[in-house]
């Protein structure tokens, strides 16, 4: 397997429902200085290229990349922004290191969701202006449509989705960085207002603030640093149809394609056997199940039984979202993928505290950019 690029440092600040003590720049600075300390690098001397992920309307600033360099130590250096999830940013740094243009790069993602007072209106503005916006539906209707079709095709019930909520929010109790840890009973999760039937409010990850910085390096640099490198074995990313009118509502073909690309690169033929744990998209509880199927980690037919048997629990055969996922850590907007990546790095380093698995070798991280996108990314990591 290829070991060309490694993760050599992670740092994060948060995650919390609000962070009124810091501006977004100060929040990012906290994460950055921790990541650089973790990697034992000086951003001004050592880091050659920087990537931020951000969307203008989420920041409330047009051309937001203007405000990205100072708090990362990136002034007068090659730096650019990717409008994507943090995993897309990580993949960008990976591509740059492979291309030879730099040997050490930093990636940043953040959320100041608490500062956005009209998030659903902004999400609505991502819909087709002519065909979809005139209905003026709450954008979560798209998750309702998708969930309904998936439950129908996979013979899954809303109670099965409640099991995901219960698991992830319990996992979050063991994660000091996760603000939404809670030991719910199933009926408490089910006894809740539908937002877009069959989607319940309790099935939706709640917004949170936070910032994450990850340092990547080429093999020669990674092997010279003092920290244990976590290798990137494979990456994949993919977009499907933007238009709602043409989607395959019961499946996530873009997740499948992204995963296939990453598996191919990592030379993994049977992912369900090779992957020790995974951090997957759970912005809506049903998406965790849909993603697991799309990733080829379980078949649709095995899913109901696997859920009942606790296969995805922290003590199960294939632990999923040990971090607590987005349901437990909060919806960190474009930082969701990196929050999950941090968990995978900690697990592979053996630094995951009470959540630590015994000797995991290969972890998979998958993210989705959220409604209404059909944009996913997958990264496969391995310990040395």
């Amino acid at each position: 397997m290829e070991r060309e690029v490694a993760i050599v440092g992670v740092g994060w600040e948060g995650f919390q429902p609000t962070t009124p003590h810091y501006s977004y720049k100060e929040l990012i600075y906290q994460a950055a200085q921790k990541a650089y300390h973790n990697a034992n690098v000086d951003p001004r001397k050592d880091i050659q290229s920087f990537v931020t992920v951000a969307e203008d309307f989420i920041e409330g600033t047009s051309i937001f990349d203007e405000y990205t360099p100072d708090q990362l130590g990136a002034v007068l250096k090659p730096m650019h922004t990717i409008t994507g999830d943090g995993l897309h940013g990580l993949i960008t740094a990976y591509l740059m290191i492979r291309s030879g243009i730099c040997k050490i790069a930093a990636v940043e993602a953040h959320s100041k969701a608490s500062n956005i007072k009209t998030l659903s209106q902004i999400t609505h503005y991502a819909l087709d202006p002519m065909l979809n916006r005139p209905f003026e539906f709450h954008p979560d209707f798209i998750a309702g449509l998708e969930m309904a079709r998936f439950l129908h095709e996979a013979h899954i019930t809303p109670e099965d989705c409640a099991l995901v909520v219960q698991k992830n929010r319990r996992n979050a109790l063991e994660n000091p960085s996760a603000p939404y840890g809670f030991d719910y009973r199933l009926e408490e999760i089910q006894d809740c207002q539908p937002v877009a039937y069959p989607l319940l409010e309790s099935h939706i990850a709640q917004p949170a603030d936070g910032a994450i910085v990850v340092v990547l390096a080429s093999r020669e640099i990674a092997e010279s640093l003092t920290v244990e490198p976590i290798w990137i074995l494979g990456v994949g990313w993919c977009n499907d149809m933007y238009n709602l009118e043409y989607r395959d509502w019961g499946h996530l073909p873009y997740v499948t394609k992204a995963a296939q690309m990453a598996y191919h690169q990592a030379q993994i033929q049977t992912p369900s056997k090779k992957i020790d744990f995974a951090e997957v998209d759970d912005l809506y509880a049903y998406r965790e199940l849909m993603s697991l199927v799309a990733l080829g980690l379980i078949s649709k037919h095995e899913l109901p039984d696997a859920l009942k048997m606790g296969k995805f629990h922290s003590t199960g055969q294939l632990p999923i979202n040990l971090s607590g996922g987005s349901l437990g850590m909060g919806n960190l907007l474009e930082a969701n993928g990196l929050a999950k990546l941090v968990e995978a790095v900690l697990q592979l380093r053996g630094q995951a505290g009470k959540r630590q698995l015994s000797f995991p070798h290969i972890g998979l991280v998958q993210s989705w950019r959220g409604i209404p996108t059909s944009s996913a990314a997958v990264v496969i990591l391995a310990s040395s």
């Binding site: 969307e55 047009s62 002034v75 007068l76 250096k77 730096m79 994507g84 291309s99 977009n239 996108t373």
Partner: protein
């Protein structure tokens, strides 16, 4: 890991207009269609797609990259949108370059689209939100402010006259008269016309400024072994560079773009260029305002500080001159649909180096050209060097 050679093998663009009937998706699709046709490829041949488009507030669509994805040819393909404000148009082929150079992909589509006319009543109002939300926006700044402030500082530092700077606008708009896609080409424009145009934000006048426009441009990039099968005239990406300066623009020297210098040096080093003034045969510096072309030529080390105007005064900048500048007509003449305008410059180098630029063709078989874009709060430089 070594640098894999990457070529541009195809290019296409829409006409640039003030207000297109086409939706942003349709503009992107049209440019992609002609770029693929130009090298006789289909979407089946494309491994990944890179998109550039500047602020979402123009198109009026949140996550505009997602909206444009399938029109840009990204259906079920790896797809990323990069973003460095006005610098995006020259960054997106750099993004395409590192996709191919990484070894993961052989053929990559690079697309830039901008539809500025959707913003109502005028795209300029969208620029209020580029300023710092807490300490600048309450002053109700206009985009023109920062250009006017920078232009004034530049003129005053080097003692340049408005009449001299107007020569830039005149040359570029005259050049654009030969470009089939141009919005503001004018073979007869004079320095007097520029000096007598409306004063918007002194020292900036109407004809010092490029027009708000709609348009799209696409390129096809390929790895060396594939490029030679696609075309017998590949144009190589020899150097790339980019650099972002501090956001605290009121703490900086506005007379000189250090970030452009750093970006250029990165690209020159990669291309093995020691003497850019001799080794670059065509330059397409970013020219949203006339003085910016001068400012950038100095940052690019193609002129001494405060001396770029001499290239225009002594005729070097003309197509038949020693260093033809913006033979396309630039943003001032062809139009300025932000990201698309930057990529238009790279497409121009592709056509010029292949000898396919028609009436715009620079004589003497130019071998190497440079395109540069700039953006954010007078803060980012993006540079690409193409050669054959």
């Amino acid at each position: 890991m070594s640098l894999r050679k990457v070529a541009v093998v195809g290019a296409g663009m829409t006409h640039f207009v003030r207000r297109a009937k086409e939706t942003p998706q349709e503009l992107a699709f049209k440019a992609v269609r002609v770029a693929l046709d130009s090298c006789e490829l289909t979407l089946m041949d494309i491994d990944a797609v890179c998109l550039g488009t500047a602020p979402d507030s123009f198109d009026g669509i949140h996550m505009n990259g997602e909206y444009l994805s399938q029109a840009a040819g990204a259906f079920r393909k790896p797809y990323l949108r990069s973003y460095v404000g006005g610098g995006t148009g020259v960054f997106v082929p750099i993004q395409g370059w590192y996709h191919v150079a990484s070894g993961l992909f052989d053929v990559v589509l690079v697309v830039a689209e901008e539809k500025m006319s959707s913003y109502y009543p005028h795209a300029q109002a969208a620029f209020l939100t580029i300023f710092d939300h807490t300490i600048e926006r309450p002053l109700k700044p206009n985009l023109l402010w920062i250009f006017a402030l920078e232009m004034n500082r530049y003129m005053t530092t080097y003692g340049l006259s408005k009449a001299d700077i107007a020569r830039v606008s005149v040359l570029h708009k005259r050049n654009a008269a030969d470009h089939p896609c141009a919005l503001l080409g004018d073979p007869n424009i004079t320095v007097e016309d520029v000096l007598q145009s409306e004063t918007l934000a002194w020292p900036v006048q109407r004809l010092d400024v490029s027009p708000v426009s709609d348009g799209a441009v696409a390129l096809v990039l390929a790895a060396e072994h594939v490029a030679r099968r696609i075309t017998d005239k590949p144009v190589w990406i020899e150097g790339v560079g980019w650099c972002l300066d501090t956001a605290y623009w009121t703490n900086r020297d506005l007379a000189y773009p250090r970030y452009v210098e750093m970006a250029a040096k990165m690209a020159y080093e990669m291309a093995g260029i020691k003497e850019p003034r001799k080794e670059i045969h065509i330059a397409e510096p970013y020219d949203p305002f006339d003085y910016k072309a001068l400012h950038h030529l100095e940052g690019l080390q193609l002129a001494e500080r405060g001396k770029a105007i001499e290239l225009y005064l002594n005729g070097d900048a003309e197509r038949s001159g020693n260093l033809p500048i913006c033979p396309s007509g630039g943003l001032l003449g062809v139009g300025n649909p932000i990201a698309a305008a930057g990529l238009m410059k790279v497409a121009e180098l592709f056509w010029q180096l292949r000898g396919e630029a028609g009436k715009r063709q620079v004589p003497g078989n130019p071998k190497r050209g440079l395109a540069q874009a700039w953006g954010d709060l007078m803060q980012v430089g993006t540079v690409i060097i193409l050669g054959r």
